[in-house]
Every structure is written in structure tokens, then in C-alpha cells.
């Protein structure tokens, strides 16, 4: 009974809190630009409206066009449920769950790219090609970050990995993971979530033809993914496991908020990079994770 309650409350937290994050980012951007900006809860209104709407399907699309966003959403939610939350720990903590988490995100990527190619649109083909190509570098950074945590804690289980702090290399790891967060969640300087009519897009262009409930699933999934990466970043860097339960919760919430604000600030102050330089930037993120790994590995033994 307690397990069911625990599971349900986690699910509710992820589903209900996640759409808040893009709202906060937009608010920060509006604040920096001196605009009033959309309400913080805008995404909730959008999701509710989209859910009630009908859909327009391309004549070329197969049932996979709707199944893609559904499976992608499920994969992201499943990954989120594997993530431990502060002192609560994970729902189903087991050896090797971290690898499952990385590959669930890959499954989501496969489904989104599949749905994009359904339409036969050149734009969406382009977006899917870029997404899966840049993900190769992002995946290398993520697995290196996982290695850092594994070396630190000596385990392959998320709950044990995220408890202690990342040690001396945590600053490097934080910057590296932050770059991965920006790339994976299609944020400036890798991508621009605001425009989708330019040839410079990655993620937004993949979902051009979605509408109604499938688009709601895509947007909600993206919000959960952003929150997932923020929670991962905060827990990887800060030693939440050593704190008392209430403090840990407060620190987690404050940390996620800080990451969100930082994303908003980066978005306001930086311009999007030229596409030629995106791989370089991603490689930088990977190298930062790699240096952090060296620090964790050799620093631990010295």
C-alpha cells in the first residue's frame, strides 16, 4: 500500500511540477528583456487546450505518427520515475538502473525522430538528422558523467550514486552536465525553442506537424525531460544524501529553481551558436565531463 502511494505521489510530482519549469524560464527571459511575459502557468493552459483539440494528420502519416509521441512520453516518464528524489530514494532502485535511464531517453529520441520522418517533410527530416547526430556527442557526455558518479560511489545504482557529492571535480561536472542539459532540451546556444520557421532548428522542427493531444504529449514530455536533467544535475553535484530529509528537499527545490533560472539567463544573454560550432560546443561539454572523471578517478586514489 505504501509502495503504491509512494509511486503515485512521485508520478504526480513529476507530471504536475514539470510544466512549471518552462514557465519560469520564460518569466526570467521576460524579466531580463524588460517585458511582462506570459504567465508562469502558461504551459498548463496550453496543454489543457491542446488536449481538448482535434488533430490534423498528414496524408502520408501512419499510425506510428501518433504512437511515436505516446511511447516517447512514456519512456521519459519511466526515466523520471527511476530518478531518486532527494531523501526519498528511487522507486525501484536496482543495480544498473542508470543505464536503463540513459537508454530510455534514447528510446524517446528514436520515437520522436520516427514520428518526424513520418511526414516526409524536408524540414522535419533535417531536424531528425540533426537530433540523432548531435545526440551521439551528448550521449558520450552523459555516460562519462555517469562514470564519474560510478567511480565516486563505487556502485552502478542511481540512489547510491547521487547521494554523495561529486567531490573535487564537481564544478567541472556541473558545467559539463549543464551543457548537456542545454543540448538535450534544445535550448540556446544549441537550439532555439522560440522559432520553428528557420533552417536552424533541431528539436522544434521535428514536431512541426504534430497537433492536438499528440502535441500536448510532446510538450509535456519535453518539460519532464528538462526537469529530469535539472534534478540529475543538482543531485549529482550536491551531497543531498548527507543532509537531513527536510534540508535535502529544500536544497533540491532551490537547486532545480537555480538551474531553471540559469537556463533563462543563458537564453537571454547568449545568442544561438552557428551550426558548425554546435559539435565543438558539445565536445567541450564532453571534455569537461572527462576531466571531471580524471579528477574523480585519480583524485580518489591519491
Amino acid at each position: 500500500m505504501i509502495a503504491v502511494l509512494d509511486f503515485a505521489s512521485r508520478l504526480l510530482v513529476w507530471l504536475l511540477v514539470a510544466p512549471l519549469l518552462p514557465g519560469i524560464i520564460n518569466r526570467v527571459k521576460a524579466w531580463v528583456a524588460g517585458r511582462q511575459g506570459p504567465p508562469v502557468l502558461q504551459l498548463y493552459y496550453d496543454l489543457a487546450r491542446l488536449w481538448r483539440k482535434g488533430v490534423v494528420l498528414s496524408t502520408l502519416a501512419s499510425p506510428g505518427f501518433v504512437a511515436g509521441p505516446a511511447v516517447a512520453w512514456l519512456a521519459v516518464v519511466a526515466a523520471a520515475l527511476l530518478m531518486p528524489l532527494g531523501s526519498l530514494g528511487g522507486t525501484l532502485s536496482f543495480r544498473g538502473d542508470v543505464i536503463l535511464l540513459v537508454y530510455l531517453l534514447a528510446l524517446a529520441r528514436f520515437c520522436t525522430a520516427w514520428a518526424a520522418l513520418e511526414t516526409g517533410s524536408a524540414f522535419e527530416g533535417m531536424g531528425a538528422a540533426r537530433e540523432v547526430s548531435y545526440a551521439v556527442l551528448a550521449e558520450a557526455s552523459v555516460i562519462t558523467a555517469v562514470l564519474v558518479l560510478g567511480v565516486q560511489s563505487g556502485t552502478v545504482s542511481l540512489a547510491a550514486m547521487l547521494g554523495p557529492s561529486a567531490g573535487t571535480g564537481s564544478v567541472l561536472l556541473a558545467v559539463g552536465l549543464f551543457m548537456v542539459l542545454l543540448a538535450e532540451n534544445c535550448r540556446v546556444p544549441f537550439d532555439d525553442p522560440n522559432t520553428h520557421l528557420e533552417l536552424t532548428m533541431i528539436h522544434e522542427v521535428m514536431v512541426l506537424d504534430h497537433s492536438g493531444p499528440p502535441l500536448a504529449a510532446v510538450l509535456h514530455g519535453a518539460a519532464i525531460k528538462l526537469m529530469l536533467f535539472s534534478v540529475l544535475l543538482v543531485q549529482a553535484v550536491l551531497p543531498l544524501g548527507d543532509m537531513r530529509a527536510a534540508t535535502a528537499w529544500a536544497v533540491l527545490v532551490a537547486g532545480v529553481l537555480a538551474v531553471t533560472v540559469a537556463v533563462g539567463l543563458v537564453e537571454s544573454l547568449l545568442a544561438r551558436y552557428a551550426f558548425r560550432r554546435v559539435p565543438l560546443l558539445l565536445t567541450t561539454g564532453f571534455l569537461l565531463c572527462l576531466f571531471s572523471l580524471l579528477v574523480a578517478w585519480k583524485g580518489g586514489s591519491a
Binding site: W51, L57, P63
Partner: protein, 643 residues
């Protein structure tokens, strides 16, 4: 059971040419019996041995079925049976009156030889079975030998295969000379035998298609009929892996070989998928993915060898179990994908992906089964590819956390394995998208038709295998565990990792909720009103099918990163002037190792031999001159020596 299997397959040889139904029935019975035998050995964890009283070629027949060979025998049985059923429709008598009968005969021969190869525990008989197996493979590849490219692919296969066999001849002969008997078995205590493994690695490595030795593989797999490609890629190249696993377990282990196998595995994995991304031919692309998957298997095997030398019983079995489970997984999903590609070729008549598109409408079964295979081969949960990669990852992560030299190799291996996964995902999104989704790019793709019941049925069987290993991995742990225990006795006794059961549970939940979620979203979308319209395409008014992303453009970003090894050839005519009349762009990725290394070396050898041939021209006077010059040289040497 094995006797039943052998008799049934032998009977099928008799009926192959004239009686296709009889052939299929007896082959299926034989495969099923072999499957039962293999499953029994794996389930009970015991070995079966038999020595004959009579002698063949001066040696008594010695058969042995233990965990390692049973694991491969099951793959032979499953893929062989499914492929036979597939070929009934794909390469039938009506479409191929000349070659269909021969194809059936050689199919039985191939399956029989592979079974024999796995059972033989005598070096001499092993070599015989190996040679017969290689030759039946040649005749299957060249079934369609009216075509020039098929003949040259077959020739390349035969040449490479024999180059490998040369290494094996040396290996078995030296082994027999050192041990004093042709009988094979564990000789771990004779440390002097360790260097022989290098010969075995080269000989078996050619057959397995690991990276620098894979030159024959892409053209052979692409030009063979699809059911032959499936068995070649799914099972035949695994015979090379079998050899490596078998003799790394039997010979005394040295640290160096383990490192080299793991390194070759990593190189094959990354470069295999990089070459696959550069391909436009769907079967050639799948062939390069075999190189990638062989690499993943070798990573597992190589790290297990390192672990056994350094005495780490904790993570070695995990890596080996992952590698061996990947043998099954690759056999299942790669054969499924080749069957899918075959039914596309059957329907459309071309392997060129840039001429396809939108096939899902005409071929819904093939499209969805191919998609399932694509998810499995990309190593995504909840299917089988993920389970074996997950086991390898667990082994590698444990290696990182143990003190020892293995950390140096495990860290790059983990990072590159993750990148391989992401690259494979990119590649299979490309294949599925370009072949099955979007709009047809050419007229031929519009007239496609779905394949019939036999082809569909054999694909469904393989897909069911992929799903079963993905959803209930614990059941299959038993099998790989018997094989691991047979590889090295000291590693027996590990129960399934507890987390494997949890993983299976999550996979089940994920699969069930994915189906439910997709159906629910589809219903929800329809309830609000569903309008069909042309693809929006940012408001472009007159889109044509030619504007879609092609295979080449989709993979362009990644092939650019790997241009240093892929060496793509580009022919372009840029649009020039105000009203450009004519423009085209063409890109082709050659087989770099073959064209840049093997062919120049071959030309060099031919040049030297050509020069040497000038000495041989048949004129007696010149030969007399050689004699005199030779004698004079000997005399001069003798004089100089004495003086």
C-alpha cells in the same frame, strides 16, 4: 535428439532438389530436434560426449555438446529453420527454376556442416567441417551467379575465407604437434600453447568479420539472396565467434590476447556503424551492422578473457554472459532485418534506399516487424538488444570499480559503447524513415506488395524471440550461464543478478503501457476530430517526394565526422549561372580497407611476381646461363669462405 536432427537434415539433402515440401518438412524437424537438444544441454547444464568406434580419416569421431556449442547450435537451429521457411516463398521454384533446388540442397548442407562443426571435438574433423561449411556458403552466396557483382562478391568471400582457413590449418596442426593428438579439449595447464591463440584469432576473425578482416562481408551479404544473407549474418559469422570463444576457453589465457580482442571489439563496433551510416544500399548497410554487433560481442568476450587472467570472477562472467547473449540477440534481430530487407527487395526490386519511401502503406507487416528489429538492434529497452548490452555495461562498470589495469580499458570501452548505441540509433532511424515512411521516391516503390504468409510467418517467429528475451530475460540467463560455466568451470554457480528480474519487470510494464498508451492517444486524437491534409512543411505549397531527406543527407553530419576513414567519393556538378540547366550530386562510400590496403598490397604482390616471372621464359640457353652464374656464385662464396 541429435541423431534425429542429423538424420532429418540428411534426409532433407536427398529431397532438396525434387521435393521442396519434403525438404522443408524434414529440415524443420531436424532444426527442431537440434533446438531441443541444445536447449536441454543449456537447461540441465551438463555436457554430452560421444566417441565412435570407427575411424574417419584415421581418427575416431569425437562429438561433444557442452554449454558453449549448445548456445550456438540453438542459433543455427532457429535461424536455419526460419530461413528455410522464408526461402520457400522468397526463392521458390517458379521464380528461380534453376537455382531454387540447388539453393535448398546447399542450405541443408550449410546447416548440417555448421552443426557438425559445433559438435566436432577433433581438430582434423573440425577442419573438414569448416571447409565444407565455407564452400556451402560460397554456393549459397552465388545462387544468382548470372550477375557479375554476385560472382565477384562470391570470389572475394572464397578468397578471404581460405586466407582465414590457412591460419586455422597452421593453428590446428601446431596444436596437434604440441599436444600429440588431434583430439581437442581444455589444455589450460600447458602454458606454452598460449601464443597459438593469435593464429586462431586471425583464422576465426576473418570468418567473424571483425574490423580490419571484414573486407569480404559487406559485398557477400549484400549480393546474396536475402535468406542467405540472414543465415550468413545471423549464424555463419558466429562460427568465427564460436571459435574464438571456444579456444579462448580451452587454451591457457594470456593477458595480451584479452586486451587485443577487446580492442578489436571496440574498433569493430564504432567503425562498423560508421561505415553503415555511409551506405545507400539497405543490405550493405545491414552487413556493416554485423561488423558492429560482432564488435559488441567481442567486447564482452575480450573483457572476460582479461578478467580470467587477472582473477576477477566478479565481473568477467557478466561481460561474457552479455557477449554470449548478444550472439543470440544478433542472430534473431539481424535475421529479422535481413528478412525484412528481403521482402522489400522482393516487392520493389531494388536495394537502393534512395528509390524507396512510404512502403508502410503497402507493406504494413514488413514495416512494423522491421521497426521492431530496428528498435532491438539499436539496443533500446524493452527489447533483447538492450538486455545483452546492459549486461556488458554492468560488467564494464564493475571493472571500473575494481582496482586493476582493466580500468584503463573499461572506461574508453564504456564511452565508445554508448556512442556506438547512439550511432546505431541514428542509422536505424535513417533506414526506417527512408524506406518505410514519407512518400515514395520512385515509381517502383508505389507498386510494392506485401509478402506472403511464409515470409511473414518466419519474420514473426524471429520477432517473437526478440520480444521474449527482452521481456523475460531471467529465463534466458540460465542458458548463457551454462555457456559461461562451460567456458570456465570456476565461473559456474552464479545465480541471475537480482536486478535482471527487476529489469524484466520494468520491460514488461513498459511494453504493456507503451501499447496501451499508443492506443489511448490514437483514440483521444480521433475523438476530437481528425482531419487529413498534406504535410504542412512550413507552408510550402508544392512539395514533391524528391524534396524529402534521403539516406545520404540524413547521415551527412555523422559521415562528415568519420570522413577520415570513410573516404567518401563525391561527384558534383554545382548549379551555375542565372538559370542553371543541370546539377547533380552523388556520394559513394567505398570499402576503405579493401580499396586502400588490400588492393594496393595485392597489386604489389602481383608486380613482384610479374617481375619474377620474367626469369621463367622457357629458353634453354638462358637456363644454362642461370646455372653457370649460380655455380660461379657458389664457387666464389666457397672460395671466399675458405680464403
Amino acid at each position: 535428439m541429435l541423431l534425429v536432427a542429423a538424420c532429418a537434415v540428411a534426409l532433407s539433402l536427398l529431397g532438396a532438389v525434387r521435393a521442396p515440401r519434403w525438404w522443408l518438412a524434414s529440415l524443420l524437424v531436424g532444426s527442431f530436434a537440434a533446438l531441443i537438444a541444445g536447449a536441454w544441454v543449456l537447461g540441465a547444464g551438463v555436457a554430452w560426449e560421444w566417441r565412435s568406434a570407427f575411424r574417419i580419416a584415421g581418427e575416431p569421431l569425437h562429438l561433444r555438446l557442452d554449454g558453449v556449442s549448445a548456445l550456438f547450435l540453438v542459433a543455427v537451429a532457429v535461424v536455419g529453420g526460419a530461413g528455410a521457411a522464408y526461402s520457400r516463398e522468397y526463392w521458390g521454384d517458379r521464380a528461380h527454376p534453376v537455382s531454387a533446388g540447388a539453393g535448398r540442397w546447399w542450405w541443408s548442407a550449410l546447416q548440417f556442416c555448421m552443426g557438425l562443426l559445433l559438435l566436432c571435438s577433433n581438430g582434423l574433423h573440425f577442419l573438414m567441417a569448416w571447409e565444407a561449411f565455407a564452400i556451402s556458403g560460397y554456393f549459397l552466396i552465388t545462387l544468382d551467379r548470372q550477375k557479375t557483382e554476385v560472382r565477384s562478391a562470391g570470389w572475394l568471400y572464397l578468397a578471404a575465407s581460405h586466407a582465414g582457413t590457412l591460419g586455422l590449418f597452421a593453428f590446428f596442426a601446431l596444436l596437434a604437434a604440441r599436444t600429440g593428438t588431434w583430439d581437442l579439449g581444455p589444455v589450460r595447464d600447458q602454458a606454452g600453447l598460449a601464443p597459438l591463440f593469435w593464429l586462431a584469432l586471425v583464422g576465426f576473425g576473418v570468418k567473424a568479420g571483425m574490423f580490419p578482416l571484414h573486407i569480404w562481408l559487406p559485398s557477400a551479404h549484400a549480393n546474396a539472396p536475402s535468406h542467405v544473407s540472414a543465415i550468413l549474418s545471423g549464424v555463419a559469422i558466429k562460427m568465427g565467434i564460436y571459435g574464438i570463444v571456444r579456444f579462448s576457453g580451452w587454451l591457457p589465457s594470456s593477458a595480451g590476447t584479452g586486451w587485443v580482442v577487446a580492442l578489436l571489439g571496440v574498433v569493430s563496433a564504432v567503425l562498423g556503424v560508421a561505415f553503415a551510416l555511409g551506405q545507400h544500399d539497405i543490405k550493405r548497410l545491414l552487413a556493416y551492422h554485423s561488423v558492429e554487433n560482432i564488435g559488441i560481442i567481442l567486447i564482452g568476450v575480450g573483457f572476460a578473457m582479461v578478467a580470467s587472467v587477472h582473477g576477477h570472477p566478479a565481473w568477467g562472467p557478466l561481460a561474457l554472459a552479455g557477449g554470449l547473449l548478444h550472439v543470440w540477440n544478433h542472430a534473431l534481430f539481424k535475421s529479422l532485418l535481413f528478412f525484412g530487407a528481403g521482402s522489400v527487395v522482393h516487392a520493389v526490386g531494388t536495394r537502393e534506399m534512395s528509390l524507396l519511401g512510404g512502403l508502410w502503406r503497402r507493406m504494413p507487416w514488413t514495416a512494423s516487424l522491421f521497426a521492431l528489429g530496428a528498435v532491438a538492434i539499436s539496443g533500446l529497452p524493452p527489447l533483447n538488444g538492450f538486455v545483452s548490452e546492459w549486461l556488458i555495461y554492468l560488467g564494464l562498470f564493475d571493472a571500473v570499480n575494481q582496482p586493476g589495469a582493466a580500468v584503463w580499458a573499461a572506461i574508453p570501452a564504456i564511452v565508445l559503447l554508448a556512442m556506438t548505441g547512439a550511432l546505431a540509433l541514428a542509422c536505424f532511424v535513417k533506414v526506417c524513415g527512408v524506406v518505410f515512411l514519407g512518400a515514395p521516391r520512385a515509381q517502383s516503390a508505389k507498386g510494392a506488395h506485401e509478402c506472403g504468409l511464409w515470409m511473414r510467418g518466419s519474420m514473426v517467429v524471429l520477432a517473437a524471440g526478440c520480444v521474449a528475451i527482452g521481456l523475460v530475460p531471467v529465463v534466458f540467463w540460465r542458458a548463457t550461464h551454462s555457456a559461461v560455466a562451460a567456458w570456465q568451470g570456476a565461473w559456474g554457480g552464479d545465480p541471475a543478478p537480482e536486478s535482471l528480474a527487476t529489469l524484466g519487470l520494468i520491460h514488461l510494464t513498459l511494453a504493456a503501457s507503451a501499447v496501451a498508451g499508443a492506443v489511448w492517444l490514437w483514440r483521444r486524437a480521433r475523438r476530437g476530430g481528425c482531419v487529413r491534409g498534406p504535410t504542412w512543411d512550413c507552408g510550402y505549397a508544392a512539395p514533391t517526394a524528391r524534396m524529402q531527406y534521403t539516406a545520404g543527407s540524413f547521415a551527412g553530419i555523422i559521415t562528415e565526422w568519420f570522413a577520415w576513414i570513410l573516404q567518401p567519393r563525391r561527384h558534383a556538378h554545382r548549379p551555375e549561372g542565372v538559370f542553371p540547366r543541370h546539377a547533380f550530386f552523388e556520394e559513394h562510400t567505398p570499402e576503405t580497407v579493401l580499396e586502400r590496403v588490400i588492393e594496393p598490397v595485392g597489386r604489389g604482390v602481383m608486380l613482384v611476381s610479374g617481375l619474377a616471372r620474367r626469369l621463367q621464359h622457357g629458353s634453354v640457353q638462358a637456363y644454362v646461363l642461370y646455372l653457370i652464374v649460380g655455380l660461379a656464385a657458389v664457387a666464389a662464396m666457397a672460395l671466399a669462405w675458405c680464403g
